[in-house]
Amino acid sequence: GRERLVAAFDKVNTHFQELFVRLFGGGRAHLTLAPVDPADPAEGAPKEVDPLEAGLEVMASPPGKKLQSLSLLSGGEQALTALALLFAVFLTNPAPVCVLDEVDAPLDDANVDRFCTLLDDIGASTGTRFVVVTHHRLTMARMDRLFGVTMSERGISQLVAVDLRNAERLRATA
């Protein structure tokens, strides 16, 4: 299992570095396998990291910023970095369908735009079909087709095909 995990780590890390740059429009990032309880400096030589016991650390620097760990980034930067990691895992073995439930909620318009472009690119290269649940107008505008879900009868869900203009109106009603 150890060799398989190390090989998977290398593949995911390569995809992650590339996807981070595409989603942020620059910057750099990488993954590391770190020991779960950091070596006690008094012990001298750093512990040999056993991948089967290690933790996956994410280091990232958005464009023009210093390299830092995931916890120091902003809410939107963390969400975008987590998406890069998820898609990096996905690209090692692309599935026929990918469903994303409001993953764009913390993103600003510029990041939503790059996120949608990435979905288009992945779909074109792997043939994956995407189902994207969203409240973001910009994301709606980038979809090939839209379904609206309404509860005109309280507590009963109904599906309707909508065009973008109707989708805007649907957002506005409860």
Partner: protein, 168 residues
């Protein structure tokens, strides 16, 4: 093998028969809070063999059956079927000569679930293997539920390693 269509009846808030086409490219789902968008995502996960009620936000598996509203009685059966397009003929062996494969799951209150593939009754295990061979399934990291991104951010590094194991 592609996902072509999802059909639900009596599943959570979708008491009436509902059909969702899944076509190439990007399909958006929109609507107000609480209208049933995440229920659709759960219907897809359920038909692929999800066996943990908690990951469908329920206490027990019967919680996926329409529980009734102020004006409608509860149901006793829920059914979801998923139509797979196999024109590219790359489905796992037993089903590969079919152009389309329909996977169905049906649950009856208090009596558990029944699975059918291409009309024949099969075990949950067979359905799970069918999807695992196609790099997908109920626990695929490509099914990103609401709140999953914040869970990945808040996870400890040792928990995030599990994502790598999926790629191994």
């Amino acid at each position: 093998m592609h996902f072509a269509r999802l059909r639900l009846t009596g599943f959570k808030s979708f008491v009436e028969p509902t059909v969702v086409d899944i076509e190439p490219g990007l399909t958006g789902i929109v609507g107000p809070n609480g209208c049933g968008k995440s229920n659709l995502v759960e219907a897809l996960r359920w038909v692929m063999g999800e066996n943990r009620a908690r990951s469908l936000r329920g206490g027990e598996m019967d919680d996926v059956i329409f529980a009734g509203t102020a004006t409608r009685p509860a149901r006793n059966i829920a059914e979801v079927s998923l139509l797979l397009d196999n024109a590219t003929r790359n489905a796992p062996a037993p089903y590969n000569d079919l152009a389309e494969i329909e996977v169905t799951r049906l649950i009856e209150r208090g009596a558990g679930s029944i699975y059918r593939v291409a009309g024949r009754e099969v075990r949950a295990r067979d359905v799970q293997l069918l999807f695992a061979d196609a790099a997908t399934g109920a626990h695929s990291s490509a099914l990103v539920s609401q709140g999953r991104i914040s869970a990945i951010i808040a996870a400890k590094p040792a928990e995030r390693r599990a994502l790598l194991e999926e790629a191994a």
